[in-house]
Amino acid sequence: MWHRLTLEDVKVIGHYLGVLVLVSAIGLVPPLLVAVVFGEWHAASRYLLTSGIFLIAGSGLRFLRVQPGRLSRQQALAITGLAWLVLAFFAAIPLSMSGHYANYVDALFEAVSGLTTTGASVVQDLDHLSYADNMWRFMMHLMGGLGLIVVALSFGLFGKGSASLFTSEGRSEHVVPNVVQTTQFIGRITLAFIALSTTIVTTLCLVKGMEPARAFLQSLWVSISAFATAGFVPMSQNIMYYHSLAIECVLMVVMLLGSINFTLHAEILRGRIKTFFEDTEVRITAVWLIAIVMVFAASLAASRLMSDLPAMERRGLFMVVAAYSTTGFQNVTTSQITGSFASGMLIIAILMAVGGSAGSTAGGIKINRLAILGKSIVATLKETLAPDTARITISYQHIGRRPVTPDIVREATTVLILYGTTYIAGALVGIASGYDASQAIFESVAMASNGGITSGIVVPGMAWHLELFYLLEMWAGRLEFVTLLALMIQLVVSATPSSLAMRLHARRAQRRRS
């Protein structure tokens, strides 16, 4: 029996959505400040107006009074799923009024791409986008990378509902036993790395002769984008704009740090380095990257444009790290990806599809899930070959030995199948829209894994049906499907006329009996 939403559920969901909208209004402060500092008055008025809309809508929803109590799992799933969509609708407002987007759907796509840390962009004339609009694009990355619920929880909101909300956003591990302290820890680590990266990249930009204010802002933006493994960039030439090996190296390290599980960050901070190097996921990641780099280098060796060693080292390695971490930065052009780089295109797609570590800001299926499934296959083979009386137990290393239970295997299998299905469905929609099969597969994987590297399908003014499908893929991928599917089922079941009629009938029968 599917769970149906009651009027009380709707009130609770509305109330907490209002709280989330109000909290997200804080993200509008930096763009507003930047607009005022740089005298971008048109942008300032847009952000002031949007702040008003956030505050009015948030306060309006909060008026739905609810009894204080523990949030049910169904309510938490609905709040999280809807929060990502509702906030994207609001976040697109200032962008759509900027004149840099063909229509509101393009601005909505940009907002979803920003919040889900996909990083695929449909902005027109990016090089002349105002500082304030750029600031907002990267604020969306920051909020989305941390997680909207994590941001809200770190302020100590939601009280008793914290735990179920936290797990509904694709996070299951607590760094410290308390959810609020965990979210504060994630926020602190993120801000510390962004600050450090900004300082280094700003210095490198200043050495290159960039104007100080511009150097600082662009460094801040690419640093946010790198640690949140997001992918927006402030210049249309992407990372190639900086022409700096040093900046590319710094960003590679930041992207790799961003794709490390936050619980391992906590272990490193506590000085337990051994735990980090013993972790199954870390070890498999190292082997995975070495293997993929070998195949990638072999494929590039055949390419005329990339076959010289410095180009292979620089462009190849950077693209591998950007794809593995699902950041989506590019230091090759889109035409190179589909042209001279085409042999490596599938490898990039596989890297994005698999993604980074669980519990990090990276997207994709996650190395951890594949490791668990691999271990489960080994256990099956062992059981087949072992005597009938033998009992096979398998475990993996993650802050101590943990057993691979049937529940963990089931969760990993479910998510793997859902990702696979979405990748295929997106590819079919792309092919049906007239695109080349390899291009359609690449783009679908880039969207659902929140990788964001584009093969040229995602462009301003693209076909709206494809845009909406990709938007759905990004949303589903960020929430790791279960939350989204649960929300959809709840909404459909609650709104089905037959179910409404049944409930009405049941109520009448109850009245008659009483």
Partner: protein
């Protein structure tokens, strides 16, 4: 709050050392990947191209 702050201060040397080792490992890993690229290039016989 105060106790938590004290913990952070106590942890600072360990944390710095921890991250220094991890960043160093990442850099070494990137160098290893670069060597792998060069090795594959030689093996595929594209060195002279």
């Amino acid at each position: 709050m105060k106790k938590e702050r004290e913990n952070w201060v106590d942890m600072a040397p360990d944390a710095l050392l921890g991250y220094a080792v991890v960043v160093l490992a990442l850099v070494c890993f990137m160098i290893l990947l670069a060597i792998v690229v060069a090795g594959v290039r030689i093996l595929t016989g594209m060195g002279a191209a």
